[in-house]
Symmetry: C2
Subunit: 363 residues, 2 copies
């Protein structure tokens, strides 16, 4: 049971991120996160519960804490009002009060929804993230973004709400389907591409180990991803500036997800194809050479990820992107690459060039 701990330091609120093998059974870590509360609500889903709910309940028992579980259906298509209300119904029926912590046990969808429930139940209750997918361990559990989807746009309703702790057990990745592992690797590659060329090179050198789920390689990738994310979030918690870099590939990716209907592609898959679109726009804008687009593409292919977008039509892509949260005064703000390993935000992409890039990147 070895683990490493990062501390995310925000103004007025800091919290630990524990990463390692076996932390799901580490009573001391949970005890510290629970701050003496004797009751807790676990929000999880039908896929994760059979694997890890018993282990977590046992660990909480060791903290003299009585948990109740709220088990939701699994999938991005359930990240909506109706499912969120199931959480509130469960909390109220159990008479959870505003000191009762909520624990999110699952992937990005569970973390986003349980986090938004924690942000808004009785105007805010304590929150602990226990991410069980690679994507949620490297990205969505860290940084305090919570949300649900709206039929007209992804993550359109949500809150910035930081957890009290993130406890990421790398052992849970053993049961992760290959497709989900690849989706998580998309976000790992993203950190390299947007701001850390040495990490990008390390991923290139270790991609076979990562795909083979070598525990040491995975732990190193998760730790470095969380470090990179923490450093950016510490500079810009509410995304008024540099934090937008973390959305590399996401403006195109959200268009894919909402254009195809939530759940058709995994979030990480959409981000992978979206990163290639963003890189292609960067190339057409004269920022990076075509060789860098190819290099990024090769790495994503080795992760087992799609690098060609679905054929929605350029006009539909642009329509969907014009509802993105990064739109300001009618201008879409794109996260592009000014070089491999360094992102830049541009709102001056001509529509004709955008159309060309989308057509180049879609089958």
């Amino acid at each position: 049971m070895t683990f490493q701990t990062l501390e995310l330091q925000l103004q007025g609120h800091s919290y630990p991120i524990h990463i390692g093998s076996g932390v799901l059974s580490n009573t001391v870590l949970f005890q510290r996160a629970l701050k003496g509360q004797r009751r807790v609500a676990i929000v999880t889903n039908e896929t994760v519960a059979p694997y890890y709910l018993d282990t977590l309940v046992k660990t909480l028992g060791g903290c003299e804490c009585t948990p109740t579980a709220i088990v939701l259906p699994d999938g991005e298509k359930y990240k909506n009002w109706e499912t969120l209300n199931l959480i509130f119904d469960g909390l109220l029926k159990q008479a959870c009060d505003r000191k009762t912590p909520i624990i999110a046990l699952g992937g990005g969808v569970i973390g986003d929804m349980a986090g938004f429930a924690a942000a808004t139940y009785q105007r805010g209750v304590p929150f602990i993230q226990v991410p069980t997918t690679l994507l949620s361990q490297v990205d969505s559990s860290v940084g305090g973004k919570t949300a649900i989807n709206h039929p007209l746009g992804k993550n359109m309703v949500g809150a910035f709400y930081q957890p009290d702790a993130v406890i990421a057990d790398t052992d849970t990745l053993r049961t992760l389907p290959d497709r989900e592992l690849a989706a998580g690797l998309a976000e790992v590659v993203k950190y390299g591409a947007l701001g850390n060329l040495p990490f990008f090179e390390w991923i290139e050198a270790n991609i076979d180990l990562l795909v083979a789920r070598d525990p040491d390689a995975l732990q190193k990738a998760i730790l470095q991803s969380c470090k990179d994310k923490a450093s950016i979030v510490e500079q810009d918690e509410k995304e008024v500036g540099i934090r937008a870099w973390l959305n590399l590939g996401h403006t195109f990716g959200h268009a894919i997800e909402s254009g195809l209907g939530y759940g058709a592609w995994l979030h990480g898959e959409a981000v992978a194809a979206g990163m290639i679109m963003a890189a292609t726009v960067s190339q057409l804008m004269g920022l990076i050479p075509e060789a860098d687009v190819q290099r990024l593409k090769q790495l994503l292919v080795r992760c087992g990820l799609p690098v060609v977008g679905p054929k929605l039509g350029a006009a539909r892509y642009i329509e969907l992107m014009s509802l993105d949260k990064k739109v300001e005064s009618g201008k879409i703000r794109f996260v592009l690459l000014e070089q491999l390993g360094r992102a830049v935000i541009r709102s001056d992409v001509p529509n004709v060039l955008l159309t060309q890039a989308i057509e180049m990147c879609c089958e």
Copy 2:
């Protein structure tokens, strides 16, 4: 067009509260609150829109700002998910982005819902309160509490989210129904009872002027109420301590509202009867003499308010109150009076005494 301005000073966020005649037409005040934004979404209801929407739109036109209006049905029973979603639908259809301010034009229900929409649309957009009822001008528009109701409890889902400005036009009180004016006076009396005996005495001396809607008396009452509230919120924004005093009468009042079905009684009416219950508990606990209960009751009667609760049965009251947000570890925390003009929080009220007080106060 005379007005007075208070400044609510919170850590990291301060905002002005402008109170006076004609401020709804004051382009300068709105221009300052809009911070250069050229688009804005107005959330209002079917009752308020015919009176004041045109005036507000004209004022915003003077700020070179193009507003879109989202007009909701009127009433506490619409303070729910379904109606909140109408706001999100409207914002998304108009492609409002995360810099587009939301203006709440209406009473407490509109302010609470528009505020919660502002707190959560795209994880937070600018927000301006334009309260048009006495209750919202003296209470709900100030302090940043936003929420919607859940069938199992009032204001159970919400956020602390401060507005950028409160612009309260006392002229709008001219069109307020008598019953709503009285409901607002309940909260005015509350400030006197919980922490300001001289203000309580001033209300006693001026109650006939207030009920007759004397503009000077109303402006003075609104200003003093906002001052008292601002001072408490500045000490305890997130209600970990003294802010709970502001809930004098509300634990009982919320039980009345949710027990009868939202909208049967106005919030202020339920708070009035709730304050008498809280005062009666205080008397039975030996904190205040019966004469103080009578004095409070007389003043509320002169406001035109109910001072006797509906006969739900003591057991049902206690059941409903056990879901209150001030419950911690199964104990209901009551805001009582340790003297007239000074609240105190107690979680040691014996059930038998509570039952007795409820029976004494219900018809």
